[in-house]
């Protein structure tokens, strides 16, 4: 069995496993949209603030589900990988001729499939409730590509946590950490409208702000080169760091003794 076939088998296993646990796919599909509904309804009045970039808070907030959905997918997939370690599945794989890289790529392949499904769902719901994507159909395609990079970046850190700790609880405990990054960002207001100075600084230092702003720019502005370059650079950079560290951890974890 060659590497591609190994990757496809493991990616398929990852996807089927997700489908068989409804909580793992219902939560990322429903919860971010529920929060979007609540925040959009609650903060709709904020669009009347001078300098607010759009008159639709839903359009402004549509980027949020992409990021939160990625977090859910990441944690769920990380937990699955940690469970493979806890149950000894990884050790049994180590006894086979399977290449280590196939495990990581296959696992992340499953996360990416979930990310694409989520992106399609969020975008469809957004369009159905009347959000107009300013960057047009090509912009929607770019949103998909960016969503894939984001889910890959987060997924690689979820895999890293699973491989380093081998504990489902430890991976679960990552969720609040990710959540802090999400909330201390420009998710609710543009950074220039954040009044509290320390919060504005924290949001500006937080890479998640730039991921949100890249998707948001395509929805409410059109083609904003700076936002897109920052969004893609950060997501690709995070993915490279996460993948490198995960590969190193996997090498240790899969040491054939």
């Amino acid at each position: 069995m060659n590497l591609t076939s190994q990757v496809l088998h493991l990616a398929r296993r990852s996807v089927i496993r997700t489908i068989r646990q409804p909580a793992n796919w219902i939560t990322p599909l429903v919860f971010p949209l529920a929060l979007m509904a609540v925040n959009s309804g609650g903060l709709d009045a904020a669009t009347s603030l001078p300098g607010f970039p759009t008159d639709s808070f839903i359009a402004f907030f549509l980027a949020f589900p992409f990021i939160q959905g990625s977090l859910f997918a990441t944690v769920n997939a990380g937990v699955d990988l940690a469970r493979d370690i806890q149950t000894g599945f990884l050790n049994r794989l180590a006894l086979t001729p399977m290449q280590s890289a196939a495990l990581l790529v296959g696992h992340l392949g499953g996360v990416i499939v979930m990310g694409v499904v989520q992106a399609a769902w969020y975008l469809s719901v957004g369009l159905l409730i009347g959000v107009r994507i300013e960057a047009g159909p090509l912009g929607m395609l770019v949103i998909f590509v960016l969503a894939v990079f984001i889910v890959l970046a987060f997924g690689s850190f979820g895999a890293l946590a699973a491989l380093r700790t081998g504990s489902t609880e430890a991976v679960h405990s990552l969720f609040p950490v990710f959540f802090v990054f999400l909330f201390i960002s420009s998710m609710n207001l543009p950074r220039n409208l954040i009044e509290t100075e320390w919060f504005q600084v924290a949001a500006s230092l937080n890479p998640v702000s730039y991921l949100i702003e890249a998707i948001r720019s395509l929805v409410i502005v059109g083609w904003d080169e700076q936002a897109l370059v920052l969004g893609f650079s950060i997501s690709i950079g995070l993915a490279i760091v996460g993948l490198t560290l995960s590969s190193l951890s996997l090498r240790t974890r899969m040491a054939r003794t």
Binding site: G41, G42, A45, A46, F57, V180, L193, I194, E195
Partner: protein, 258 residues
């Protein structure tokens, strides 16, 4: 009655001891309300400038009341998780065999939830004061605010205890959390109810949490409003969920506590 009290004190002490000596229980309960407070009061302070938004003591106080009530409700819900753990580990079965009056078990969990929230509320209040929160209400208003929050804590506990004792598995955690989460967020969290988007305003006006939030905010501002309605609403919910929780206890007894 003496039996109820002695069981309640023992169970309450155990809950508090477990909570205060187990970092994995203590830290999230303290950290999440702080985090929400910081994210909402810090990140959204500009909302104070939205046309039509008038809250005399500032946005920090406006959000403080929401986070105070939220922390109270979730301290109750998290205690429900503890009840489930007791069932899953078999402790609840032994507790039921040993307790001369099992209603004391429920009361004890209530003491645990209230003690747990008391610490969170203290830390949250200190953080808010350090952040420069303005308080317009006098001592009586503030006492009423914390009393209202304590009633919300009891509501959260009774709801989650009823669920915990019926299902007796941690898989029921979303059933405990989600309705509480939704009723809190389908309320005027970020702006007054008049400034909510149409559909959310319609839901919020039917949501009893709105009344409690508005009463709490009026108390901190020193201009009490909707107080009778909020307290009556809270007491009615306590009455209803007491029946729910006691019936849950009876179901757990019928199932042998396992």
């Amino acid at each position: 009655m003496r039996n109820v009290v002695s069981v309640a004190l023992a169970v309450g002490w155990r809950m508090l001891h477990n909570n205060f000596t187990t970092p994995s229980l203590l830290i999230p309960g303290l950290a999440f309300p702080m985090f929400f407070f910081v994210a909402f009061a810090g990140g959204l302070s500009r909302v104070n400038d939205v046309p039509g938004f008038q809250f005399p003591v500032g946005y920090t106080a406006f959000q403080f009341v929401f986070v105070l009530l939220q922390s109270a409700a979730f301290a109750g819900v998290f205690t429900g998780f503890g009840i489930v753990r007791d069932f899953e580990t078999g402790f609840a079965r032994r507790l039921m065999v040993a307790a001369p009056d099992r209603r004391g078990i429920l009361l004890g969990y209530g003491i645990g939830a209230l003690g747990r929230w008391a610490l969170t509320a203290t830390v949250l209040t200190c953080v808010a004061m350090i952040a420069g929160m303005e308080v317009g209400g006098n001592g009586v208003d503030i006492f009423a605010l914390y009393t209202l929050a304590a009633l919300v804590n009891v509501i959260g506990l009774l709801w989650s205890a009823g669920v915990a004792m019926r299902f007796r598995t941690l898989q029921a955690a979303p059933i405990m959390q989600l309705p509480v989460f939704l009723s809190l967020f389908f309320a005027p969290v970020f702006v007054p109810v008049e400034l909510l988007a149409g559909w959310l305003e319609a839901i919020a006006r039917l949501n009893p949490v709105t009344l409690m939030l508005e009463a709490g905010r009026s108390l901190i501002a020193g201009d009490p409003a909707h107080i009778t309605g909020a307290f009556l609403g809270a007491l009615t919910l306590i009455l209803l969920f007491s029946v729910w929780a006691v019936r849950g206890l009876r179901k757990a007894e019928a199932a042998g506590g396992g």
